[in-house]
Symmetry: C3
Subunit: 132 residues, 3 copies
């Protein structure tokens, strides 16, 4: 259910992409009750021209190693869960992918449960009508 | 008004892009009362490295033919309309573009009517102040 | 805090990218109380195949110079502020980057204050617990 968009600069290896995706997914699974196999991630790779960020906003030291994450998922997570997600994602991105915690930018967009179809034209998260 | 982001893998022809876009737009028009000329679609083309999906979540058989659709539109559609949209989109994507129904992933993001400007710096969906 | 996605056609110079980004950011700062250093913008560059738009919806004359802007920011801006943003963005995009006002498409997505982490795994916009 989460649809995760991840924007990074060019120059990363296939292993790094995988490690970044793994870290973010593990953080979602362990803090926000996302099923382990509910993984949909879209990376966009940028030149310095197409990824613009302030280097110091909120007292960070951002580098071209920035990882900009936008997660769309269901409404209902508490602030505590969201804070745990940020904390865990930053920790795992450092451990697994060598990303500086200052370079981890995360934004969450929340939607209703009926706003997803995972395939076959069905809204899998909506209670299905009984077949008589 | 819908702003539609579509993520697919590389290797599709121009005809396929057009067919995928047409199918999704026709589904929006016929199920969600979107005007026929209200079409704004952004495709992003991926390598296997940048489009990550679980192949079987929710009992699907996803392939590299996956079509990941994120629609931003106005709040107010009913669950019935959303379900009809998913159903029709999957059907039309199969018919027009040969996309397997298992490969059709759709997510909806809902916003307020005042959250759009279609040009000239005007909020066209907001009642305009009377000119005296 | 705003995360801004900007989709344009290929063929623009580095100077034009910068001018487009500057114009949109200045509009956000001057109409929606966004801090000057709170700037995070992601451009995606398209071929005619991947950026689809109706040329005349809402009585516009859109060209391949279209600039499609999607801003994710905090809920709480009034309709007046949003309308001022559209107006100012169109004006500045014309002045700074030579973009036709008919080519300025803007969509806003609103989220809660706790939906952001600007780095270090912290939710900077949430009141932090007191350290005892």
């Amino acid at each position: 259910m989460p649809l995760v968009r991840i924007d990074v600069n060019e120059g990363r290896s296939e292993r790094e992409f995988r490690a970044i995706g793994d870290a973010i997914h593990e953080a979602l699974v362990t803090t926000c009750a996302v099923p382990a196999d509910d993984r949909f991630q879209v990376f966009t790779v940028h030149s310095s021209q197409t990824l613009i960020y302030d280097e110091s906003y909120m007292a960070m030291h951002r580098s071209d190693g920035i990882v900009l994450v936008q997660v769309t998922f269901n409404v209902g997570r508490t602030t505590e869960q969201k804070v745990a997600l940020y904390h865990r994602a930053a920790q795992l991105l450092a451990e697994k992918a060598g990303v500086s915690p200052d370079d981890v930018f995360i934004n969450l967009v929340e939607v209703q449960r009926e706003n997803w179809s995972f395939g076959r034209g069905v809204a899998q998260l909506v209670p299905q009508p009984e077949t008589k």
